[in-house]
Symmetry: C2
Subunit: 206 residues, 2 copies
DNA sequence: CTATGTGAATGGATTCACAGCC
DNA sequence: GGCTGTGAATCCATTCACATAG
């Protein structure tokens, strides 16, 4: 059931989830692929194709059951269970992400935040106890953390990533503009803020 | 020369730029598509194809001139001239982005930051004077701002986006999880932090 | 008659492979 | 010989179109 799902499909699944969540609050019972597609400005066939990876979830003639589909997607994406994460690098961006509420709604729980500065560890940042990065092995093991959000300065990115991998982290959301070199085992996603802005400005007005 | 450049190509161009910048500091004079590709863990043919959109930039037998190529890319991407931007929504994320240094290196200049809270405007945030969002038309006109970074709470996203468009903003980097509905004229890029984290966790260990 | 599910067709981006130039 | 530039081939995602089910 979960072999070879395209990344784009997974991303759209989450967008569907958000709309279904909203539609359910509005009291909607059923929705067609066409209505859902229109809300997202995509094609209805795209919605059906995406959902078809996970079985026959709709009813011909009437569409999809809003509640059942929302719960099915929540289950596919693992929104229905908690996933522990940590944030590494408590600068401006790391602190902002620690306070970001959007993660919580998807089942993520920030368990620990790390920095390398004596000024910061020991203290609370945005309500989280800040730990010494060198304590990471112990803390991620105690708390079953597999995912790290990396927001250290660029110069420290590669060395910190190695520490994370050694400590047992399996996936890194990398906010630094550095291409991390790690073993294939560790999954990396890059969020390159400056790149996004530059791409936008390149295509502006085109 | 700039018709139909794929978005992916533009993004890689920036990655090439960063490496070329670094290589130049190292004193490198020439580089082959293969060496550049290896640094980024992509195929050499990809590098050549990307660059070929912009003319014949290399020399057969010896590769690309590092300085010339870096400057060519800087020119293509507009890194060689300043682009004014504003940030709208001075919560945690907006404030962090105001302090983010990565934008500056690509020629972006944060000119103004906006909020809707009386507590904030009039005061300085991360060194920037914070203005009332309702002043935006005046300020973006005075300062030739075409690009806005949108970091307001989700509930305020759509209404704020409309204000931005009315004020003359041509491109929005949208950090809210809301699908903005604006005219086709306004270019929108979405950075969906929770979506990135969810996608990463879905594919973790696969 | 309505709307899904899905093979087939299309479209876009990546990779191959090689002719052409240094 | 080494490396670019680029059509052709391949791969992957999107869209079409229709047989099928409610």
């Amino acid at each position: 059931m979960r072999k070879g799902i395209p990344e784009k499909t997974v991303q759209r699944l989450l967008l569907y989830y958000r709309y279904l969540f909203f539609l359910l609050q509005q009291g909607a019972k059923n929705i067609s692929s066409k209505s859902l597609a229109d809300l997202l400005e995509i094609k209805d066939s795209q919605v059906r194709k995406d959902l078809s990876y996970f079985g026959q979830l709709g009813k011909r003639g009437s569409g999809y059951d809003v509640l059942a589909l929302r719960d099915k997607i929540a289950n596919i994406l693992g929104i229905d269970k908690e996933t522990n994460v940590c944030i590494v690098g408590m600068g401006n961006l790391g602190s902002a992400l620690a306070a970001y509420k959007g993660f919580l709604a998807l089942g993520f729980r920030i368990i620990a935040v790390f920095d390398n500065s004596k000024q910061k560890f020991g203290h609370k940042i945005k309500g989280y106890q800040c730990y010494d990065i060198n304590q990471i092995s112990k803390i991620i093991e105690e708390n079953d953390i597999k995912i790290a959000i990396l927001t250290v300065p660029a110069e420290a990115a590669q060395e910190t990533a190695i520490k994370l991998e050694k400590a047992g982290i399996k996936a890194i959301l990398n906010f630094t503009p550095v291409k991390l070199s790690l073993s294939k085992r560790t999954k990396i996603s890059n969020v390159d803020l400056a790149l996004e802005l530059k791409t936008l400005s390149f295509f502006m007005g085109k």
